[in-house]
């Protein structure tokens, strides 16, 4: 029962994160979407550890991800601040300088 709930939560988080990544154009929202997705992945690790009977490994992996993921968020947000100051916009489409 708890497994089913966890599975739904994982798929939901991953799905929402992916959907947001596909449609969001605001850089801050992109970072938030990424965070949602990573939380899904983290939950999946914990659950995988439970299923495989190696809970400790799954949980320690999740802890590692928390650290890495926080760093990603911090750097990305700092970048977003700089981008906003420099270019005056956070719209990733407007920021792209590639010729089309």
């Amino acid at each position: 029962m708890i497994g089913t709930v966890a599975l739904i939560a994982i798929l939901g988080l991953l799905g929402i994160g992916l959907y947001a990544l596909l449609i969001m154009r605001n850089m801050i929202k992109v970072v938030v979407a990424l965070q949602i997705m990573v939380k899904g992945a983290m939950l999946a690790m914990v659950m995988a550890g439970q299923v495989a009977g190696k809970a400790a490994i799954g949980e320690s992996m999740a802890l590692t991800v928390i650290v890495a993921d926080t760093i990603v968020a911090v750097v990305a947000l700092a970048l977003a601040v700089q981008v906003r100051r420099r270019f005056g916009t956070l719209d990733i489409k407007a920021l792209s300088t590639l010729r089309r």
Partner: protein, 588 residues
């Protein structure tokens, strides 16, 4: 003891490379000294390894799993090529002391040369296919870096890129071979592979055999990949002598020889190998006849002589091919280094501007002529013995497999070789000077490198018996006839192939001597000359392929939106495809 020697041969040049790099370009004297020390030390250690050849792996480490064991096995074939790489490498480095004096960025130059020498030794000594592939690619990388050494010259940069791309193409063939070997035999060890190759399904074995043939042809600049070698001549001349004549281009021949026992019964493989050699030898010979750039003539002749070696492997003459490889390494390194002395002295590579240089640089003329006579196959020089052995093996295989026409073409090419060699010697050293060139004699370091090579041209063939014994004793899967040098000499001298070849060489000489009377002949062949000058259309094919690739890239540029949302979509779609493939693979 052996393990230490093996590690030292690879380690000394690599450590030397790092040290030269760290020394910094502001201390050129220290860099010269360090590079020469490292190269000579590696050469001495590899000579010390000669008595200890063994077919079993002596040193290495196990990575386990898919990668297998990274072991080094100093068998006859590997040690022989390691000696060639390090000894000729050390002579080329000594020669560089004069040739590269005053050049900027010596750290990059010597670093890459020493890195190359170590990688080449690793390539021939390892018994692991994957490690072989890694070393194979390192040599390609060093070759690229050194061809493009003068990186402010667009031609040098383009030549380097061309060499890199074409040899990478061959590397894919090798990688496919390694993967197939692992997936069917669960091993990457070459000796285990050779022992179990007959258990492979016929089609897999054929795929492997032809994949490795492509790899070898690309590395050894054989048909249809021969175009990169002439363009590689933009490299400094010691590099051309070392990498593009004496060592790296031999890696393809080495690969074919190493795997010959596994593939000899694959249908059409031997004939295909022989055909590749024959076509390369003939085409390159014709191109050498019409080229005007001294180094390009030598490059074409390298392709042509490598064609002889590949042909010999196809004909089943592993010993003949390796024997010719030894001779060729010595006399071609000599020719290139002598040509380097000329080019360094006069500042041009165009033979039409040279002429009559012999009087001003007598020593260089003497050694160049010795090398040229060996290349042409004039008796008692090493090129004579090995080329005749190749032709003799070819004659036997021709009768056996019904490919006598190939033998006839090779005979014709022997005459052609004599013709273009004499033309080249004449244009550079004899006749009247055709332009005012400032000439200075060769430096001491150049002489130190040239004289041993010239002496070796006279004597390396005397080692044939010992060399054959070394190969026969340490290669369990190859059938190598172990014959003494004097028996071999008698066999060669009494073989009809030898006399036919000598007649062809003599004919080539006569045609060059009587060229004034034979104008109708040369007019008749002017058409062939024009086609040869256009490299038989292969340059055009290369350019066409490059244009097509650029066109495809331009078309695909639309996918490069720079839009995060689309990129995420691409990643997700790729993930779905991979997962589907895995799911399908799991259910099958």
């Amino acid at each position: 003891m052996i393990a230490l020697l093996v590690l030292l041969i690879i380690g000394i040049p690599w450590v030397g490379a790092v040290l030269v790099w760290l020394t910094g370009d502001s201390h050129p004297r220290a860099q010269h000294t360090l590079a020469v020390t490292a190269a000579v030390a590696a050469g001495l250690v590899s000579l010390a390894l000669l008595p200890y050849t063994a077919s079993k792996a002596v040193v290495g480490f196990s990575l386990g799993g898919v990668f297998g064991d990274f072991y080094f096995a100093p068998d006859g074939l590997g040690v022989f090529l390691a000696v060639v790489a390090t000894v000729i490498g050390s002579l080329a480095v000594i020669f560089s002391v004069d040739y590269m004096r005053g050049e900027a960025q010596l750290g990059r130059y010597y670093g890459l040369v020493l890195f190359f020498i170590g990688a080449m030794v690793g390539l021939v000594l390892t018994s692991n296919l994957l490690l072989l592939f890694v070393f194979w690619e390192i040599t390609a990388l060093c070759s690229y870096g050194l061809i493009s050494f003068y990186n402010d010259d667009p031609k040098a940069v383009a030549g380097g890129m061309k060499a890199l791309i074409i040899t990478q193409l061959g590397g894919v063939g090798l990688l496919v071979g390694a993967i197939l070997s692992y997936s069917y035999l669960h091993t990457l060890d070459i000796n285990v592979f050779l022992a179990n190759a007959h258990t492979l399904p016929a089609d897999v074995l054929a795929m492997l055999a032809f994949g490795l043939l492509i790899a070898a042809a690309a590395k050894s600049a054989q048909f249809p990949f021969q175009t990169w070698l002439p363009d590689a001549m933009e490299a400094p001349t010691p590099i051309s002598a070392l990498i593009h004549a004496a060592t790296m281009v031999n890696a393809g021949v080495y690969l074919l020889a190493r795997f010959y026992p596994a593939f000899e019964n694959v249908p059409y493989w031997r004939v295909a190998v022989m055909a590749v050699g024959v076509v390369s030898a003939l085409m390159a010979g014709l191109m050498a006849l019409v080229a005007n750039d001294l180094k390009r003539v030598l490059a074409y002749s390298t392709v042509s002589q490598l064609g002889y070696m590949v042909y010999a492997v196809g004909a089943g003459g592993i010993f003949a091919s390796q024997f010719h490889l030894l001779s060729h390494s010595v006399f071609k390194a000599l020719l290139f280094l002598a040509a380097g002395a000329v080019i360094h002295s006069v500042g041009t590579r165009d033979m039409r501007l040279m002429g009559g240089l012999g009087k001003k640089m007598p020593l260089v003329r003497a050694v160049f002529v010795i090398g040229a006579l060996a290349l042409a196959g004039i008796p008692i020089l090493n090129g004579f013995w090995s080329k005749e052995l190749v032709l003799e093996v070819g004659l036997e295989a021709g009768i056996e497999t019904g490919t006598l026409w190939m033998w006839a073409v090779m005979l014709f090419t022997a005459g052609l070789t004599a013709l273009y060699t004499f033309r080249c010697v004449w244009l550079v050293f004899y006749g009247e000077p055709r332009s005012e060139l400032h000439v200075h004699p060769a430096g001491t370091a150049m002489k130190i490198a040239l004289i041993p090579l010239a002496a070796a041209t006279f004597v390396t063939w005397l080692l044939a018996g010992r060399f054959g014994k070394m190969l026969a004793d340490s290669l369990p899967f190859h059938k190598i006839d172990n014959i003494a040098t004097n028996t071999l000499a008698v066999t060669i001298l009494t073989s009809p192939a030898t006399w036919a070849a000598l007649a062809a060489v003599g004919l080539g000489l006569i045609i060059w001597w009587q060229r004034a009377q034979l104008t109708f002949f040369s007019e008749m062949l002017a058409g062939v000359g024009h086609v040869a000058q256009a490299s038989f259309g292969f340059e055009a094919i290369n350019r066409w392929i490059v244009r097509q690739m650029q066109g495809v890239a331009e078309d695909l540029r639309g996918l490069h939106t720079g839009n995060l949302n689309w990129n995420i979509f691409g990643i997700a779609a790729g993930l779905v495809v991979v997962l589907l493939a895995l799911a399908l693979g799991a259910t099958r």
